[in-house]
């Protein structure tokens, strides 16, 4: 029991880098993302009995993170902020630094302009690399709903970013 408990904690800690990335793509700001991660980790530890061993812990954590984010957006306690300072905080290696600061802000701003439904679909599939089926399960929506949100979301992004890639 104690051993299992420890393993659960270690698995959670192992997921933190991906959670931070996901939280960052949802919230658009580094500081909001870390607050969101912390809240998600705390909720997960409280609700650990609800996680079924053998199912994917990463999907479960993404679902918790997303639900907390949606709750906080809906209660309009906070708004996505696209802060220049935050964008500048992403440390990068040589290749990353080639990417201009302006472009990075553009991506945050373009994500910010998406409606929440589309942003979370894009974040799960295009940023986190979940399969459609897994993403639909995390969001608790039918596959068809997921794919239509994805289509609208990525077309808006492509338009916005002018396919400058």
């Amino acid at each position: 029991m104690a051993f299992e408990g420890r393993a659960f904690e270690d698995d959670l800690i192992g997921l933190i880098p991906r959670l931070r990335r996901f939280a960052r793509s949802l919230s658009g700001s580094e500081s909001d993302a870390d607050d969101l991660c912390q809240a998600a980790l705390e909720r997960a530890l409280k609700a650990r009995d609800q996680w079924q061993a053998g199912t994917r812990l990463d999907s479960w954590m993404m679902k918790i993170t997303r639900n907390i984010w949606i709750d906080s957006v809906r209660s309009s306690a906070r708004r996505r902020t696209t802060a220049l300072d935050d964008a500048g905080e992403i440390a990068g290696d040589g290749e990353q630094q080639v990417e201009s600061r302006a472009l990075r802000v553009d991506i945050d701003a373009a994500m910010d302009r998406l409606v929440d439904d589309q942003r979370e679909a894009v974040a799960l599939v295009l940023v986190e690399g979940f399969a459609y089926k897994e993403a639909a399960e995390i969001l608790d929506i039918p596959m068809g709903t997921l794919t239509s949100r994805l289509v609208r979301g990525r077309e808006a992004l492509a338009r916005d970013l002018g396919a400058t890639a």
Binding site: S25, D34, Q38, R48, A131, A158
Partner: protein, 231 residues
Amino acid sequence: MTFDSATIHAFVDGEIDLVTARRIERAMADDPELAARIAEQRGLRAMLSNHYDPVAEQPVPEQLIAAVRAAAVTLRPKPRFGRSWAVGSIAAALAFGLFVGQQIDAPGGPVAVGSGTLMASGTLNSALETQLASAQPRQSETRIGLTFRATDGAVCRSFETVALSGIACRAEDGWQLRRTFPGREQATYRQAGNSALLTAASEMMVGAPADAATEQRWRQENWRPQTHAGR
């Protein structure tokens, strides 16, 4: 042959059956517009990866790891023995309730009742467990004051939150609240300042409060440092 956006995206995402994928590949060869739409979507995926992947490569902030470890300490089952309720602790809980009101029974609140005594929980517990007085995160709702050794050998720390302040000492199963006072935003606290807290701390203390280095060392020893004979 035309393909709708959903099909093109599914192709880019590797979410399409093999037969359709082959048809798209063949069509791309003679259809520059189709090829451009696919290139655009591949470019979008690459842009998003370049933008967000570095976040996952950064070192994980201490505070997030601490949140997992600290919460785990509170969640670990309490020992089965020693559960009888001391009259004193009930009296303390009642007195406490006057100050803290409904905050006490909120899940995730700062206080839990365990093994016959009041224990820190939630954010208060994690602050006591991880926060150094010398490096307090600006956003932390708990301020740690003095860290010191009490007459019974336990490491104790004074703290202030909005709802309550006090002195907690590290026992085997967590932080026991030994003294409690109103929080920093309550009128009674503002009138008296934190002198009651300081007086209580000085009465409990053996020797001098811990300096930054000692505080850090005690944290490494989970706040239960070995006592050395003669000290």
